[in-house]
Amino acid sequence: MIGLVIVSHSAKLAQGVHELAAQMAGDQVGISDAGGLSDDSETFGTDAFKILSAIEEVWCDDGVLVLMDLGSAVMSAEIALEMLPEQQRQNCLLSNAPLVEGAIVAALHASLGEPLQAVNRVAEAALSAPKLANTS
C-alpha cells in the first residue's frame, strides 16, 4: 500500500487535509504532512527538508505520492525528491492533482491497494472533475 505526503504553505492547511485524507483511508495508509517552514511553522512557506522527512516517515516499497498546494511547494518538493536515495526516488511521485480533492481521492484509492501510478492517475483526474451537480 502506498504512502501519501501532503505539502502546503500553511501547516494548518496541511494538517487539515491530512485529517480529511485519513478519514478516507482508514488506518492502513501512511499519511504525513509538511506545511510551513521548518523551525517556524507559523510562517507560510514550504521547506524541502520538512518534505523530505515527511516522505521518509511514510516510506514504503510500494512508493509514496506527494500532493502539493501550489507555487514554490513544487520546487521544494522537487528538491526533497532529489535528496532521496536513487532507489526511493524512482518510487516517489509528485502529483499534479489539486490538493484537497486529490488527497481525498488518493487516500481512498490507496486504501483499496491500488499501485502508485494508478492512484496518481485518479487523483489527477480530479483536476477536471466539476464540483457542482451535473444536472440536465
Binding site: 480529511l20 478519514q23 478516507m24 480533492e101 481525498i104 481521492v105 481512498l108 486504501s111 483499496l112 485518479v122 483526474a125 480530479a126 472533475a129 466539476p130 464540483k131 457542482l132 451537480a133 451535473n134 444536472t135 440536465s136
Partner: protein, 132 residues
C-alpha cells in the same frame, strides 16, 4: 453505515432485470471484433445489467464518509456501476469515483438509480443496496 448487514432493508427498491444489451446480438463475429477492451471482456453469457432505485436514508445525505464506503464496495466488483440522482434529474456518474459520486448532491429522501453492468452486476447491486 449502521445497517450494512441487512442487505434488503432500508431502500424502497424495485429491481429491474435487463437482458444484455449486446450490439450485433450474436457471437458469430467474435474473430472480427475490433480491439475494444471492453467488448472483449464482456462475454455475452455473463453480461448482466441490473438496476435498482434506492432512497437515501441518511439524514446527512450521501456525504464524504458514506460516499467512501459506497466507492469501496463498488470497487470490489468487476461490473461497471453508475448512479444518477432521479430527484435532481442528474446524469449518471461512475460509482467507483468519490468525486463523481459527490456530484450527485444526494440528500436524505432523494431517489438514486443504481445501475450495474458486468458479470457480477447482481452481487454488486445487492451489496450496494445495503448501504442506503
Amino acid at each position: 453505515m449502521e445497517n450494512q448487514s441487512s442487505p434488503f432493508s432500508p431502500f424502497e427498491g424495485k429491481i429491474e432485470r435487463n437482458e444484455p444489451h449486446q450490439e450485433g446480438g450474436n457471437s458469430s463475429n467474435s474473430h472480427a471484433s475490433p480491439p475494444d477492451a471492453r467488448s472483449s471482456q464482456l462475454e455475452p453469457p455473463h453480461q448482466l445489467s441490473k438496476s435498482v432505485v434506492v432512497t437515501v436514508s441518511d439524514p446527512r445525505g450521501l456525504h464524504l464518509r458514506s460516499g467512501r464506503d459506497v466507492v469501496r464496495i463498488a470497487s470490489q466488483f468487476q461490473a461497471e456501476i453508475t448512479a444518477s440522482n432521479l430527484s435532481r434529474n442528474s446524469n449518471a456518474v461512475d460509482l467507483k469515483s468519490i468525486l463523481q459520486l459527490l456530484q450527485l448532491q444526494a440528500r436524505q429522501g432523494h431517489s438514486l438509480q443504481l445501475a450495474a453492468t458486468g458479470p457480477d452486476a447482481d452481487a454488486a447491486i445487492e451489496a450496494l443496496c445495503s448501504l442506503f
